[in-house]
Each structure stands twice: as structure tokens, then as C-alpha cells.
């Protein structure tokens, strides 16, 4: 408790507080621009940290992290292009809501769900980070492999349209994840002697190509250049009633737990949790057919889960010194810059700083929430911009974002390549989500599988003999077979009638 009081005193110093607020806002803006993210802001801040005090450095860095995750839903809702991988699933219902004139409602849900996810997850992290981190250590490569497999099959099983096309899409994603040096022996694969591919395919390029370039090209080709209408009467106020919360209570709790769990697993992140939570929400809901048509529970699920990953990702970072996702790698770098040793002894050796980090997340989330609620009425005015100005600018921003992610023209050409792939997949009615998820998880699946085999001296049955791993594998198998069996049962029943 004393540590938190000390942290509060540190945070209440005007410089720390103002800089934290400014960084949270900048992170929010970066998160909202397709192609940029809070991680970029943290990268830019890292060199500055050398000259600043530890407290001020972390006030700025952590606030940028929180703002970046919170802001990424804005572009997903308003223009259907995710600010980052953590908001991919938000596009599926957020943008259709905007198209139906419900942009204000979708934004209110996004703002509230983001706040709830971050605030609740950090409260959990404050109370039991040590205990939760111990669970993460108990899981081995066998469980991580099975979990990743389950994540992919769950999303494939729930994707609209043909399950075979969904699985085909997932295997293409798996192939794309194989490009570059493999994570176990660093053997180069499918690089065609191009050094730009040695490190694998950049996630930003895939995201920008599949969403931004594909969307602009197909909407223009189909002559669909109408901007969605905004219902001005709903712009003011908070935008949500108590009924919205009670109706979605179960969905919020489940999505929160998914986000927290995925977040605290080292190497996983919000890019995965939002898709799994979306799939789970669809499975649990009485009207799964409404998902993808602008259905509110879809936005609740994705935004609660991806923000719950903030607290989740900080747990292994603080307690074990293991990054929960790509952005926490940067935060760990900042700790090293400041001469701190992240790991099991960090909280005991630096109780004030650990408390300060948790408190910054909480206060930043509150400040971002208040600011977004107060400024929410102006967000939809983005949709008043004519199509050609808005989407023309987005094209340039996305290609610039791809270049800045690696400072190489090759990334720009990759965006174009993935844009073409997105158009082809759209023409073949093939879902892109399974490909995206298996691309994100492909490297992890492979390295966990190979590590599991290696640790068990080549015995692959270990994946089935460890109980938690077996449960995940059974869920994975059922996720694929389940919809097919259900379809057959329904067919047989209707034939009898």
C-alpha cells in the first residue's frame, strides 16, 4: 500500500502527470492511424529516456502503450481499416455499424470496452501478478502449441462461408509464417536470396495490404464510393445505457478473461485475443448469424479482450522479465536502459516503480476514457470528408507506415503484393481472418511444436498425454468437426420432417 501511495505522489507531480497525459493522447492518435501504432511512439521515446528520470520515462512510455492500444479501434470503426492487429476483429461489426448510421454507438462501445478491459486487467495485475506469472511458467511448449492450434481452428470454424476455404486460407497464412529464418535452427526458407525476407514477412505490410489497399481498390472498382451517414442525434452524451451493460455482461466477462489469459502468455498478444474473443462471443450468442452485420456484442468482445491484454502483458513483463507482446519488448528495453533488472525479483527490489507502472496504466486509461468520451462527438466528422480525399490520403499514409516500419522500399512492395492477394481472396470469397491469425501464430506453433518434440526426445505423444494440452487439442478438433457435424444433423432432421 505504501508503494502505491509513493507512486501516487510521484504521479501527481505536474511534469509527470502532464507528460503522461500528452503521451497517452499521442499514443491514442498513433493507434488510430492505420499503419502507425503506440509501439512507434515508444520507439521514438526510447532515446529520450536516457536523459530523463526513471519515473518520468515510465510515465511517458507506459502511457503511450495504453493510448496506442486504446486508440486502434477508432479507424476500425469509422473506416473499416484497423489501426493495428489488435483491432482486426473490431472491423467486422464496428464498420458495419457505422455503415448503418450507428457510428456514435459503435464508438461509445469501443471507448467503454477499451477502458473496462484496461482498468480491470490492471487491477488484476496489481493484486495477483506473482501468482498468475507462476501459472505461465507451469505451461510448457506442448500447451502453448495446443493453445495456438486451438486459436486458429476456433477462428476458422466460426468464419462465415465455407469452412474449406477458411482452412485453405489458414494454411496459406501458415506458409507465409514459414518465410525467413526458422526460429529453431535459423535455416532460411523461401527467401529467394532476398535479404529483406531473412527476418520474415512484416506484420504491418500484411495488415495494410489486406485491409487498406484491398478495401480502397475493391470499393473503387465496385463503384462503392459512398461515405456512411452519421445519425447526429446520437453524437452527444455517453451513448450507452445500463441495459447495454447488462445485456452484454456475460460476453464482457468471458472476453475479458480471454484477453487477460492470452495477454499474460509470453509471446501472445492483443492481435490474437481479439479474434479469439470475437469467435467465442459468436459461439455463445443466441444470434450468431448477426455477427458481421453490425452487431454490438462483436465490438464489445473484441475491444474488451484486446485491452485486457494490456494488464495481461504487463504481468509476465514485471514478474518474470518476459515480454507479453511486441510493445512490452520495448518497455523491457527501457528498463534495461535505466539499469533495471526485470525478473522475479523486480517487484521486491523496486516496489515503488512496479506500483508506479501499474498506477500509470490505470490513470492513463481513465484519462484516455474521459478525453475520448468528451471528444467522441467529433470523431464521426471524419466521415464527412469526401471519399476521394479520405481514402486517397489513407493510401499514402499506409504506404508511408509500411516504409517506416522497416525503412525499406521492399515493405512498400510487400503491401502491394498483399493488397493483390486480398483482392484475389475477396474475388474467391475466401476469408482473410484465418490467414491473418495463422500468420501471427504460425512461427510460434512451429517453434513450440519443435521444442516440444525436442524436449520429449522426439516423442510426439507428449502433446496428447499432458492434460491441458490434450484439452486444447480436443477443443481444436471439435472446432473444425463441430460445425460440419451440426450441419449434417440439421440436414438429417429437416429431411425427416
Amino acid at each position: 500500500m505504501e508503494a502505491y501511495l509513493n507512486a501516487l505522489t510521484t504521479l501527481s507531480q505536474p511534469t509527470n502527470f502532464i507528460m503522461m497525459y500528452l503521451c497517452a493522447l499521442v499514443g491514442c492518435i498513433l493507434g488510430a492511424i492505420p499503419g502507425l501504432n503506440g509501439g512507434l511512439g515508444i520507439t521514438l521515446l526510447l532515446p529520450i529516456c536516457f536523459a530523463l528520470s526513471t519515473e518520468l520515462s515510465f510515465s511517458m512510455l507506459v502511457a503511450m502503450f495504453v493510448g496506442g492500444v486504446s486508440g486502434s479501434f477508432i479507424s476500425a470503426v469509422l473506416i473499416g481499416i484497423p489501426g493495428s492487429a489488435s483491432s482486426v476483429a473490431t472491423c467486422y461489426d464496428g464498420y458495419p455499424m457505422t455503415k448503418k448510421g450507428q457510428a456514435a454507438k459503435a464508438l461509445s462501445i469501443g471507448i467503454t470496452a477499451s477502458f473496462m478491459g484496461t482498468a480491470l486487467s490492471i487491477l488484476v495485475a496489481m493484486m495477483c501478478s506473482g501468482a498468475i506469472a507462476d501459472i505461465a511458467l507451469m505451461l510448457g511448449p506442448w500447451e502453448y502449441f495446443s493453445l495456438c492450434l486451438m486459436a486458429i481452428t476456433m477462428v476458422v470454424g466460426l468464419s462465415n462461408g465455407s469452412i474449406y476455404k477458411g482452412l485453405l486460407s489458414a494454411f496459406i497464412g501458415l506458409f507465409l509464417s514459414c518465410v525467413g529464418g526458422d526460429l529453431v535452427t535459423n535455416q532460411l526458407r523461401f527467401t529467394f536470396n532476398n535479404s529483406n525476407l531473412y527476418g520474415g514477412i512484416n506484420m504491418v505490410c500484411l495488415l495494410m495490404g489486406l485491409f487498406a489497399v484491398q478495401q480502397v481498390a475493391t470499393s473503387f472498382a465496385k463503384g462503392d464510393q459512398k461515405m456512411p451517414e452519421v445519425d447526429k442525434s446520437t453524437l452527444g452524451g455517453f451513448g450507452l445505457t445500463l441495459k447495454d451493460f447488462t445485456d452484454n455482461a456475460r460476453n464482457i466477462v468471458v472476453s475479458f478473461l480471454i484477453g487477460l489469459f492470452i495477454g499474460f502468455l509470453p509471446g501472445m498478444g492483443a492481435g490474437i485475443s481479439n479474434l479469439i474473443a470475437y469467435g467465442q462471443a459468436k459461439k455463445m450468442d443466441k444470434h450468431p448469424e448477426l455477427f458481421g452485420t453490425g452487431y454490438e456484442p462483436g465490438v464489445w468482445a473484441t475491444e474488451v479482450s484486446n485491452n485486457a491484454g494490456v494488464g495481461g502483458a504487463l504481468i509476465p513483463m514485471i514478474s518474470l522479465g518476459i515480454p507479453g507482446d511486441a510493445t512490452t519488448v520495448l518497455l523491457l528495453s527501457a528498463m534495461t536502459i535505466k539499469g533495471l533488472q526485470p525478473g522475479p525479483m523486480f517487484i521486491q527490489q523496486n516496489p515503488d516503480l512496479a506500483a508506479l507502472i501499474f498506477l500509470i496504466v490505470l490513470v492513463s486509461a481513465i484519462l484516455v476514457f474521459i478525453t475520448e468520451v468528451l471528444t467522441k462527438r467529433w470523431f464521426p466528422y471524419l466521415l464527412k470528408a469526401p471519399y476521394h480525399y479520405l481514402f486517397g490520403s489513407i493510401l499514402v499514409l499506409c504506404l508511408m507506415g509500411a516504409f517506416t516500419s522497416t525503412t525499406s522500399m521492399f515493405s512498400v512492395y510487400l503491401v502491394l503484393g498483399f493488397g493483390a492477394l486480398g483482392i484475389i481472396m475477396d474475388a474467391f470469397k475466401m476469408p482473410t481472418t484465418p490467414m491473418m491469425l495463422s500468420f501471427i501464430l504460425g512461427g510460434k506453433i512451429e517453434s513450440y511444436f519443435r521444442m516440444g518434440c525436442s524436449y520429449a526426445r522426439g516423442d510426439m505423444t507428449t502433446f496428447l498425454t499432458r492434460p491441458i494440452s490434450l484439452i486444447f487439442i480436443l477443443i481444436a478438433v471439435f472446432s473444425v468437426i463441430g460445425p460440419v457435424i451440426t450441419k449434417q444433423i440439421k440436414k438429417a432432421r429437416s429431411a425427416k420432417v
Binding site: L399, V412, S454, A456
Partner: protein
């Protein structure tokens, strides 16, 4: 004109992709690490998965394909125009640098994407110049993140701001 079944086309392309992946996988040198499957396993799994589900999709989804064209002729022309313009932007970004290329191509994108609508040319020009300049100087001067400065200027010895 006979309608094209897009699922069969997709399946055929996917089978070709699977064959290519499998062929390329055979060329990956194997490093001997005991008790682990090696770097070829997952590429082979992905090739196998693509082939299997391409065939299953052709069998089960193929007959359901309505054969409707994805785009009409005018749609394909519009698609081609925007793709060529984006390619042009990428080429120009490398050749004359991001700043000038972005100014030119932003205006080009505004002009193309407007379709049949009227456009306020002075406003579009100012917006293109303003946005390109904010992005370029914001990143290169503000954040110290480099953007392409153009191979042309380098070759003639001119230093871009």
C-alpha cells in the same frame, strides 16, 4: 459466353501454389538437430493443407458457385487504374523521393477516386502539398525517421531538404 466457376479456378491456383511450396521445400537444406522434425516439416504441412482443402473446396463448394462475375468490365478497368497508380506512387517514391511523389500522387488519387463527382482543384492541390509536407517533415525532422529521398537527386548530387 460460358460462365467461369471461380471455386474451380481458386482450387487450381491453390494446387499450383501447393506444388510450388512442396518443390521449394525439398530444396531447403536439412540441419541435423536430434529429436526434432527440422525446418521442412511445417512448409510441407502447409503445402499439404493447401492441396487438401483446395480439393475439398472444389468438391463441396464448386457445385454451389453461382458463376457470377466478380466485377464487370468497367469495374476491372477501374481496378487496373488504381493498381497502376499505386504502383506508380511506389516507383516515384523511390525515384524522386517521398515528398514530391506524395504531393503528385495524392492529387492523382484524389482525382481518380472522385469518380464522376466534381473536385475543387485548388483545394485538392493545397491538401496534397500540405499533407505530403506534414508527413515528410514531421517524420524526417520531427521524429528523425527517414523517408525515401529519391535516387534521382542522389545521382545528380542534389540534397533534398
Amino acid at each position: 459466353m460460358k460462365k467461369m466457376n471461380r471455386t474451380y479456378l481458386m482450387g487450381t491456383l491453390a494446387l499450383l501454389l501447393a506444388a510450388f511450396i512442396a518443390w521449394q521445400t525439398t530444396m531447403i537444406p536439412e540441419r541435423m538437430v536430434s529429436n526434432e522434425p527440422g525446418p521442412k516439416l511445417f512448409p510441407f504441412i502447409s503445402a499439404g493443407g493447401i492441396a487438401v482443402f483446395a480439393v475439398l473446396s472444389m468438391i463441396f463448394d464448386g457445385p454451389k458457385d453461382d458463376g457470377k462475375p466478380y466485377l464487370d468490365k468497367a469495374g476491372w478497368i477501374r481496378m487496373l487504374i488504381i493498381i497502376v497508380e499505386v504502383l506508380f506512387f511506389c516507383f516515384m517514391m523511390n525515384f524522386i523521393g517521398f515528398w514530391i511523389a506524395a504531393m503528385m500522387c495524392l492529387f492523382l488519387f484524389f482525382w481518380t477516386l472522385k469518380g464522376d463527382k466534381k473536385i475543387n482543384i485548388p483545394f485538392a492541390v493545397i491538401l496534397a502539398i500540405g499533407l505530403a509536407s506534414i508527413c515528410y517533415f514531421g517524420f524526417t525532422r520531427g521524429f528523425h525517421i527517414p523517408l525515401p529521398s529519391g535516387t534521382l537527386w542522389k545521382s545528380v548530387g542534389i540534397k533534398m531538404p
